[in-house]
Amino acid sequence: MTVMEQRGAYRPTPPPAWQPRTDPAPLLPDAEPYRVLGTDAAAQADPELLRRLYAQLVRGRRYNVQATALTKQGRLAVYPSSTGQEACEVAAALALQERDWLFPSYRDTLAVVARGVDPVEALTLLRGDWHTGYDPYEHRVAPLSTPLATQLPHAVGLAHAARLKGDDVVALAMVGDGGTSEGDFHEALNFAAVWQAPVVFLVQNNGFAISVPLAKQTAAPSLAHKAVGYGMPGRLVDGNDAAAVHEVLTDAVRHAREGGGPTLVEAVTYRIEAHTNADDATRYRGDAEVETWREHDPIQLLERELTARGLLDEDAKQSARDAAEVMAADLRARMNQDAVLDPMDLFAHVYAEPTPQLREQRDLLRAELEAEHADQEGTHR
């Protein structure tokens, strides 16, 4: 049987043969977001995993704070912080195996770093010395890039290709609530379901697309309800509950790996900071709303659980904080060094071989730079 063969098919049939292909009931999300922390389910959670998640959350928060500080110091052009969303970022990275692929959206630097990419290389796009700073193949992380939802079909294509090759690789693709409105979201989910591609779609519903609240983005019962329209399961999860997000994503990844096809996961969370450092969130939302969400902080939720169960003492907390500080200090130090740039790189990678036209333009720039350099030399003497 080829990969493309369907195991059943919704095809119009005249009565009495009518039969819808898929039972919709199992595809529908639960009415309430799934939660682990503070519920009975928490007892089942692996303490080691919870501690790992905790250390990563602390590190992630510190990264967000540090990167935002770097924008103020002019070391970063712009930073879209994921403060408040660290549980999603970290769980997305941790739910994957090494051979799997992560397809981040532009806000997901944390997930990229949690997957193993160098914290400085992950910031190249936002620092502005190049577009993608890391080798996508090294940690199997697709380039961070801004056109929203466009990465979703890439994830589907990659997962499909892996399956065709016989590799049990899963792709996890991230997108925001706003991004679900784009046509590419729709096309990607549909291709994934038709091809039964091993992809997990993680929507971080953080309440806003820049200034536009969710109610102006969708009228759906939940974003997870979109899944049934593609014929894949939809799951709703508390996006600030790291254990819950991790569990739901891990299940979806396993399901995909075993040939069960794609899943759409909506993680309900909140963007605590402004859209980016350049945004003024007071123009479109009040403090009160932010405050209710601060009460539901992903780090505190996990800390409370771990502490209550005696799994986290002051030492462990301190060592998580210390590790985060080491990361931050290193990030700061390295970001404070000026990037070394070669303008000739502009021409190096447009094509495998520069066209004759580009070679002409390269020669023009080289001559200009040499003249500039000569001028400066002259001035220096």
Binding site: G128, S211, T355
Partner: protein
């Protein structure tokens, strides 16, 4: 003559004012796009419009550019005049099918029965340190699409005038707003009565005898600066600001080139397949025997727009323009 206190406004403010005046004058004018309502747009060009005219007149849409332009088509079919904002140049691409296959063609398709008076505002170009996909110069795509008008202001006054003219036009108009001029100011006075010039007229920004710089949008100030610098080299450069790419003002451009006998086209967009080819070709067709040298082009390189830290090497600057002027075969002259 009474003296009026000069209130310098930025180009962004002039655009806001144009939208406000248009909305006040005509209840069928509706603004829509991502973040244009409460936030007033990421460049604040729609600032205050939702508060003044209500959310039904200035509407935050879902995040979907084809949907924005596609619904605008339907609104225009029903007699409204939608003004659509594309948040950044590169984020207009998802709307290209609607733009090319419908916006540009509906009037012609229906023999004039269903005109679409839609204005598409596109903040475009680089020079603001934007990350990838935030600095594209996409005018070549719009120019190659018959049925669209394409305008781009270089001054605060033109920003007001061209946007008003675009909204008043019964045809679809793409207004390319140079991002890096959003915060520029000149002597435009919002308190004076405003005139709305017809679309399609270039203007000579600086007269000169030696050669003509043909340019538009963000490159106009650069060309004016180059013209100043050129005086030191003994060149007296004329600068023509096209303002409208479609329709193209052959008359003004050719009158200038016939006078100077030399021309350089300057723009930020890539060179290959960019606007400069069309401009150089049509000027040459019309002024061949007046030309002392081929029309040259100074443009962005033919590559994806560079990262912020390298963009200054890409953007046509004064030196590169002067180098091109120097190549205009002056020896052959006298």
């Amino acid at each position: 003559m009474t003296t009026v206190a000069l209130k310098p406004a930025t180009m962004a403010q002039a655009l806001t004012r144009a939208l406000r005046d248009a909305m006040a004058a005509d209840p069928t004018v509706h603004v829509l796009g991502e973040d244009v309502g409460t936030l007033g747009g990421v460049f604040r060009v729609t600032d205050g419009l939702a508060a003044e005219f209500g959310e039904d007149r200035c509407t935050d849409t879902p995040l979907a550019e084809a949907g924005i332009l596609g619904t605008a088509v339907g609104m225009a079919m029903y007699g409204l005049r939608p003004v659509v904002e594309m948040q950044f140049d590169a984020f207009a691409y998802p709307a290209f099918e609607q733009l090319i296959s419908h916006v540009a063609r509906m009037r012609n398709r229906t023999r004039g029965r269903m005109p679409l008076p839609i204005t598409v505002r596109v903040p475009y170009g680089g020079g603001i340190g934007g990350v990838e996909h935030h600095s594209d110069s996409s005018e070549a795509y719009y120019m190659a699409t018959p049925g669209l008008h394409v305008v781009t202001p270089a001054t605060v006054a033109d920003a007001y005038g061209l946007l008003r003219a675009a909204i008043a036009s019964d045809d679809p108009v793409v207004v390319l707003e140079p991002k890096r001029l959003y915060w520029s100011k000149d002597s435009w006075n919002p308190e004076e009565p405003q005139s709305v010039e017809p679309i399609g007229r270039a203007v000579v920004r600086r007269t000169g005898r030696s050669a003509t710089l043909i340019t538009y949008g963000p490159s106009v100030p650069v060309c004016l600066e180059a013209a100043e610098a050129a005086r030191a080299e003994g060149w007296d450069l004329e600068v023509v600001d096209l303002r409208s790419l479609v329709p193209f003002d052959d008359e003004t451009v050719c009158a200038s080139v016939r006078r100077t006998g030399r021309a350089v086209v300057v723009h930020e967009s890539g060179s290959f397949g960019g606007p400069g080819g069309e401009i150089a070709a049509r000027v040459t067709e019309r002024c061949f025997h007046h030309l002392e040298a081929p029309v040259l082009r100074v443009a962005g390189f033919d590559l994806p727009y560079p990262p912020p830290m390298l963009e200054r090497h890409h953007l046509p600057g004064v030196d590169r323009i002067l180098d091109a002027v120097a190549r205009l075969q002056w020896e052959a002259d006298n």
